[in-house]
């Protein structure tokens, strides 16, 4: 343990006073407390969204209508997406950021701790608004998470609650993003230059820029939906000179950066884990930084590839196709760098590494199907089929969620001070990885054969693959209970973790004790103890 860290312990004694019990968590301004809140909230939402996914797969187990009526089915697909995107994945990244960024850059806490508390404590209220719609007359929103008019305007009493919930979640994301930018640019320890930042920090700054630039556009879009519904405006009504397609443009101007918001921090985590377990510095650190920036830039000029079939002018179709395919260059570079990092390395396969490796392989599959969808004439065939569903679940489940799992296993010993149960972790990994492929891989075939998304019933020729997919879904859902077991066991006890935890681990977070003191670096670490981010 470094000298600086010893000092921390000492200072911690007088700086550690805070209310106890529930009020500690409600009023906390501490980045670790808030990070923990975010992560627990995210896990809760992961299971709520997961139950909705189970309902979907149960209904699709066989052709015909078995369990739920079509309206409720559509509510499930809509709410599953909203809960998973805004409730599970985004808060999980902010939770990781809260816990790790101050530690990684040698800071005592986030730059704006009260704002930090607020950005978390918006979420339970926002999701109360959203989830309460399940019990309203007319049911929960059922027009898809993309909220396209005119369909979404037919939502019942839930409609204004949906809009306000989106506004509220957006405020939380923007506040969180502002805080992360201020933290990274203002709170770095002396000697922690920008090109020494761990890639998780880099990917998060860029994610934060994306959030601040794109979330307000979503807020604007849903505000126009609200005025169209209640105040007689004609933004999305052709009869008044507007255009429903205009909503799609505005929505996807937000929506495409949003998908990188969901995945860029995953790149950062994988870039931390692979070098650790390969026991080699990351290959091409600076190219990783520039590639992340390039992806972020491109994310703002590709949005209409989500709407190739709406009838855009040919020049638009071509422009958005070319820019979309261009994203393969920086993304491919990243995959190359991860593989090159492992080349001739001495790897071991603990659970975080397994999830990171599965991420590289399976995310790449999702990337390839994305390339297929990016080719305009081909997309005409695939649009709104299960091929799209398979694509985005490969990048979001085996991409974002697998990286979240990898990160959780990687840092759980640091957070709790205890090693997790490696055997359970391996079980969780293998059951998840096998079942997730059983779940989503057949959906490619369903889509190519023409099965549309967002339907509760289907033609009988799709029966077999749907049944296989549902079985995979149930196993995947159950497998996640293993993760809960791992987390609970790890919090309650287990083999004590060392400061460094992993043999190949580098970076400031591994110089602090496990668990770290309440305020991370109340004294800046020695500049000489700061290594480059490629370690």
């Amino acid at each position: 343990m470094s000298e600086a860290a010893t000092h921390d312990d000492h200072h911690d004694d007088h700086h550690d006073h805070h209310p106890s019990g529930l009020m500690r968590w409600i009023t906390t301004t501490n980045h670790k407390d808030i990070g923990t809140l975010y992560l627990l909230f995210s896990l809760t939402m992961f299971f709520i969204g997961g139950i909705m996914a189970m309902v979907i797969r149960l209904e699709l187990f066989q052709p015909g209508l078995q369990f739920v009526d079509p309206q409720f089915f559509n509510s499930m697909t809509t709410m599953h997406a909203l809960v998973m995107i805004f409730g599970a994945v985004m808060p999980a990244w902010t939770g990781f950021a809260n816990w790790m960024i101050p530690i990684m850059i040698g800071a005592p806490d986030m730059a704006l701790p009260r704002l930090n508390n607020w950005s978390f404590w918006i979420l339970p209220f926002a999701f109360t608004l959203l989830l309460s719609t399940l019990f309203m007359p007319g049911g929960a929103p059922a027009g898809g998470w993309t909220m396209y008019p005119p369909l979404v305007l037919q939502t019942g009493a839930a409609f204004p609650f949906l809009i306000f919930a989106v506004h509220f979640m957006g405020a939380s994301s923007i506040a969180g993003a502002i805080n992360i930018i201020a933290t990274v640019f203002n709170m770095r320890a002396p000697g922690m230059t920008l090109m020494k930042l761990p890639l998780f920090v880099w990917t998060w700054i860029i994610t934060a820029f994306l959030l601040i630039a794109s979330i307000p556009v979503l807020a604007g879009a849903v505000t126009m939906l609200l005025t169209d519904k209640f105040f007689g405006t004609a933004f999305f009504s052709a009869a008044g000179g507007g255009d429903p397609v205009m909503f799609q443009h505005i929505f996807w101007f937000f929506g495409h950066p949003e998908v990188y918001i969901l995945i860029l921090p995953a790149f950062g985590i994988v870039s931390a884990i692979i070098p650790t377990f390969a026991r080699k510095p990351l290959f091409g650190y600076s190219s990783m930084v520039y590639a992340t920036g390039a992806i972020a830039f491109l994310s703002f000029i590709v949005w209409a590839h989500h709407m190739f079939t709406v009838g855009m002018p040919l020049a638009g179709e071509l422009f958005f196709m070319y820019t979309t395919i261009l994203i393969a260059v920086p993304t491919g570079l990243k995959v190359f760098n991860w593989v090159a990092t492992m080349w001739r390395s001495s790897m071991t396969f603990e659970t975080p590494m397994l999830f990171a490796l599965a991420f590289v392989v399976l995310f790449t599959i999702g990337g390839f199907s994305g390339l297929m969808l990016g080719v305009t004439p081909v997309d005409f065939q695939y649009h709104d089929t299960y091929f799209v569903v398979a694509h985005f679940h490969y990048v979001l489940v085996t991409g974002a969620v697998f990286a979240l799992m990898a990160g959780a296993y990687f840092w759980l010993p640091k957070w709790t001070g205890n090693m997790y149960d490696e055997k359970l972790g391996q079980w969780h990994f293998w059951t998840s990885t096998i079942s997730v492929n059983v779940l989503f891989f057949p959906q490619h075939f369903l889509g190519l054969a023409g099965m549309p998304r967002r339907i509760p019933d289907y033609a009988v020729q799709f029966a077999d693959f749907n049944m296989v997919s549902s079985i995979g879904g149930f196993v995947f859902g159950l497998s996640q209970l293993l993760f809960v077991m791992v987390v609970v066991k790890c919090i309650r006890g287990g083999e004590k973790a060392t400061d460094q935890v992993w043999e190949g681990a580098h970076g400031l977070e591994w110089t602090l004790p496990s668990p770290p003191p309440y305020h991370s670096f109340t004294v800046a670490p020695e500049p000489s103890s700061i290594e480059g981010g490629m370690r």
Partner: protein, 291 residues
Amino acid sequence: MAEAHSDYYIPEPSHWPVTASLSIFTMFVGGATLLNGADVGQYILGLGFLLFVFMLFGWFGVVVKESEGGIYNDQVDVSFRMGMAWFIFSEVMFFAAFFGALYYARMYSVPWLGGEGSGAATNQFLWPEFAAAWPLFEAPSNHGFNHFKETIGAWGVPFWNTAILLTSGATVTWAHWGLKIGSRKHLIAGLAVTVALGALFVGFQAQEYGHAYHELGLTMNSGIYGATFFMLTGFHGFHVTMGTIMLATILGRSIKGHFTPKHHFGFEAVAWYWHFVDVVWIGLFIFVYWI
């Protein structure tokens, strides 16, 4: 090492953030209930608003007290600056969505409905009588949208409002000079004039809305022209109102003797916000009123 420790500032636990969430949640529940047609919503909305105002006083009160107590060091000051700057950028993007809607309507949706480009069939099969124009006095459909005869010209009230806002940008800078040279009277005079100009702008805007609604027949319901006009000017007017309240707050603080020539982030944050509102207005004046 004790000095190094005191370099960092971390606030005590606070219940104001959760109070903020609760108040906004209450307003949302009330607003949504009201929109769904239940009158009880207005009371819930009002309750939430009161709680919100209470929270603003409480939260900002703590921050002002801490600031005047001198416990914010330069690092905290920079964090606040970054926070405010990026918040303003997020607001810029919020406006961008509405400007985007305006450009899209003018460049694409209205011409296409009129049969231009790939819209020939749209025009022929939907509203063959419809002719594209901007301002769009008559919506494609006769049902559900009210027609209007005249728009608000750029060179009447909007021109004077432009002059007012630009002048107020100058007066707030003049107030800043006063603060920097330590002249309290100069500062207070500059802020008072700025607040008055802000209030005058909002008053003119309200009067203009009355004119549009009652005499020109231009309403939110006047097709895409009315929608974009009222969304952009209304959202901007809301921001000017907020900005005026913020200016009035720092005017009150200046009168109470807050701020020093070196240490006055609160003043600068409001001034930045005011300049932002000013620049957005220039965009509005050019694209909504003028061309």
